[in-house]
Subunit: 563 residues, 2 copies
């Protein structure tokens, strides 16, 4: 041992978090019988447990909401509980932002903001809310184990027993990740549950009671959003055309067997075209066998037609409970028979075990950078940056992945040094004009201005242009990964932009050259007749059709029951 | 609904896996009392449960081994149990390969092979073993949820109760990932345990009994390898020099606060230089605060000196149990006070929540491709490809990450289109000559020949050259990410190669130019005097010193007790 660096003789403290937890749990126990807190003591409990400046993980998931606890937080005394740092996957409820207006919370790290995204820029501007960063889900979980370790987690489950064992039901979602990050760092875990039952009546144990400090029956069942239900009635002939182009120009060409779909109508159209158009092409069993996605109702016809081998789900989907439970060879289910979802697992599966991400975007620029952040709405990223990125650590081969290596080996623009290396397909679908005739292809993403106004160090681009391998519009499919230069890449993007300003920069000569070089395939090149692209191609054209396909197992939420 | 695609009137079967599990569990129950199987019935149980062609997930982790179950597998009748497909994170025990020689298993997907790596090429050559792919750990787990779903999982834990609840102890490692992939897909989970105890005596529940079908007390405690213990006696003055260069040229320059370290003596030297050399430079609190790594004994002095805020562990380390339990503010620990490790979590943390990977390599080529696969040894990748890659989905900023964006923005070789984007640091340490005077810098990696002989579609490169941002040898630090061309990059690599063949291609003029362009920093440039680089700089120079630093809490394994 060096003489200059002896261990200090003063005894440092190595268990501050454990001591703090012990004090807080003791304070909270005044309101409980064991781990169970009476519903009307929720504010007392939170006042006893929370400390100013705490880092609080709140669910806040994509679908499932610990809404009872969120509402209770807004009723706390800001003189006692303030400057909370929210670590929240999804800012979904008005209460999540009310906390900032009331001075209870001041800082947030998050991944997604849906309906609340419009309020966020104003809160940032007046310094009511400081955003640490906007993440992709898997990145946020990762930081919860390293530099965003929660002091307190506020979570939601279907049921608990008196020992704190939790049954999360089909929407397990983010709960295991949040609990592991908190419980094993001497943080405090508080679960709202819909019911408290005897241990024998708990359908399964998703979270061991060892990891849970307090359970409290909510005043009403937790809120959950049917985010992944797309009514086939709203799928247009244009969506059908885009779907047909995707199937021929990407799935068939690259033999894509494992895929993550976004939640847009374009990918819903693909799902509904598999058993019809895909079947006619003889593609059953050759493409689209493994999916990382929520239980999309629009996948029912493909499942029933025998296309799908496995689905790995991020969360559940309202109304799909009985259907999923009746298809355990396809979906992950627990011993009780109901769906097991897990967003951390499914994001990992989508990153490393699927060959393609395909999704829609709201805006795309000349370099193929895209974002769903549009003027005035800081909507976050969700899973797209992770799912829509090439995992550089991947080392296993599939025909799809290796085929990209072989094609890339023939271009000069790969930047690859040395050995052959495959690539994940990252496909963006963007027709030339969106709702209301607004061009989707723009000179400059709104994300740039939104990022500047919010003082973000890097613009909130959802998928970076150099991560995109394919782009699809009604003009055809652009094979961007085949470009030899940035200029050629831009020409291929412009060729898809239709009659908008960016599209007008594309000439017929350029497009002919792009087709010869294999960077552009028009519908004609792909054997897709525009006249065939209509809704009659869809395996289901209404929610009612989906219910029929499911043999009555799908129970659509009330707002979709208008077929 | 379309008229062409009605749901089939024949009733397909959707629960084949559940039916199969039910039959197998029933067959296995003949040998049990509830879930508990007598030790001497292990072969009967496995014969009853396994079917030819099963996909079997076997632990086979980096450290923890379900060795009792592996030995039992080798005693099965190959006429009854054969053609097993092993999904195994680490091929660690002779029995793992004996299974192939005996015809019980025929196919393997894995991530790492240590001591057994020399046997693998021969088994492949005579078609006794077919390798699906070699993965990085996180990639293998991901596939276990998608296209490598296990039929049976054979796992190891410290203790179980009669309901199958498991306590994994400090080496939780891969168990939660394997169990989740198996149990929620109607696979069968069999756990060997060191002891079966009453529920009240289970220190904590790491795996709920709901997920476990059979538990069986092993004939002796599971085997575990102290893979991460580096004896400071073996750290040379050269390692010290490399460590000083890393601290000044990388940690200090880039303000690296979060990091994953490999297991070499170079990074052990860095750990032991932090409290001494790093302290003298005033870097405490400015660098190296968050770590994703196992409980390295060589980190004890830095922890005791107050450098380390958090450590997120992939697994445990033999002898570190009491020390870790006494430092819960630093390590993740359970309610029982002992370490919580989780390789899936830590690999995710290392991917998305750390700014740097730094590790040693055995061979590196002119393009900076590197591999630990050397002639005749197919050793696999472990965590390095994942940890040593830039996560393209990352969206949060740190000074380290953003600083790379700013530097990259000033070069032409980034391939980045449009917006500023940071980058993870991927640092490889390779002195010019390894053990026995063999050059580490080579024209062609052995990995190429090994891959060809094994019929692999892509050579088993561990870290690709274009993922490496920095290279360190005794000649200095190469800032490869600043290269404007592949030629300039190669010149920077050659400048570090010393007196070997590759180094002789580097001229003094080239090196001077590289220094002017900021691609090369020599020890002198970094203010590192070679004469200062000696073992007296190390905070501990023996295992005994580490024990002293730990206040007697560290209990080194017997083979390290020679200080």
């Amino acid at each position: 041992m060096t003489t200059t660096q002896q261990p200090s003789s003063a005894a440092p403290v190595w268990n501050r978090r454990r001591q703090s937890k012990s004090e807080r749990v003791e304070a909270g126990r005044r309101f409980t019988d064991g781990r169970v807190v009476p519903t009307d003591a929720v504010e007392d409990l939170l006042h006893a447990v929370l400390r100013p400046g705490d880092r609080v993980a709140l669910e806040g998931d994509n679908q499932k909401q610990a809404d009872f606890l969120a509402r209770a937080l807004t009723r706390l005394d800001p003189g006692r509980v303030n400057e909370l740092h929210l670590v929240i996957p999804s800012i979904s409820l008005p209460e999540h932002l009310d906390l900032f207006e009331q001075g209870i919370a001041t800082r947030a790290d998050f991944a997604f903001a849906g309906a609340q995204s419009g309020r966020i820029p104003g809160l940032i501007a007046d310094k009511t809310l400081t955003v640490g960063a906007i993440h992709t889900y898997l990145e946020l979980y990762a930081r919860m184990f390293v530099d965003l370790i929660p002091d307190v987690a506020l979570i939601a489950a279907e049921a608990a027993d008196s020992a704190g064992n939790l049954y999360t039901g089909p929407n397990t979602e983010d709960t295991p990740a949040i609990v592991e990050a908190t419980a094993f760092r001497d943080g405090i875990v508080i679960a709202q549950v819909n019911e408290i039952v005897d241990h024998e009546d708990l359908p399964r144990t998703d979270i061991p009671g060892d990891c849970v400090d307090f359970v409290i029956r909510a005043d009403r069942p937790f809120h959950i959003e049917p985010l992944f239900t797309r009514d086939p009635r709203q799928i247009t002939d244009l969506h059908v055309l885009l779907g047909m182009l995707a199937i021929r120009g990407v799935y068939e060409r690259h033999e894509v067997t494992s895929v993550n779909h976004g939640i847009g109508f374009d990918t819903a159209a693909i799902e509904l075209l598999l058993p019809t158009y895909g079947g006619d092409l003889g593609l059953k069993g050759r493409i689209a066998r493994h999916f990382a996605l929520n239980p999309h109702p629009t996948l029912i016809p493909a499942i029933e037609s025998g296309w799908v081998e496995t689905i790995t789900s991020f969360g559940g989907e309202l109304g799909m409970e009985r259907y999923v439970a009746a298809r355990p060879d396809i979906f992950a289910t627990g011993r009780d028979g109901s769906l097991r979802s897990n967003r951390m697992v499914a994001q990992t599966a989508g990153l490393y075990a699927t060959d393609m991400f395909i999704g829609s975007t709201l805006q795309i620029d000349a370099d193929a950078n895209s974002s769903t952040v549009t003027a005035g709405r800081l909507s976050g990223f969700g899973g797209a940056p992770n799912l829509g990125s090439d995992p550089r650590g991947r080392r296993h081969s599939t025909p799809t992945w290796l085929g990209m290596a072989e094609e890339l080996g023939r271009t000069e623009a790969t930047g690859t040094l040395g050995p052959l290396r495959g690539r994940k397909l990252v496909v963006q679908i963007a027709e030339s004009f969106g709702t209301g005739g607004v061009p989707k292809y723009v000179d400059r993403l709104d994300a740039w201005s939104v990022g500047e106004q919010a003082g973000m160090p890097v613009a909130p681009v959802m998928i970076y242009g150099d991560d995109v391998t394919h782009l699809i519009s009604e003009e055809g499919v652009a094979y961007l990964y085949r470009a030899h230069s940035a200029d050629e890449r831009r020409a291929a993007v412009a060729a898809l932009a239709g009659a908008g300003p960016l599209g007008q920069t594309s000439t017929a000569d350029e497009r002919a050259q792009l087709r010869r070089d294999g960077l552009l395939a028009t519908p004609e090149d792909l054997g897709v007749r525009r006249s065939d692209a209509n809704r009659t191609q869809l395996a289901a054209r209404s929610i009612g059709d989906l219910v029929t396909w499911s043999g009555g197992l799908y129970d659509p939420p009330a707002k979709f029951r208008s077929w």
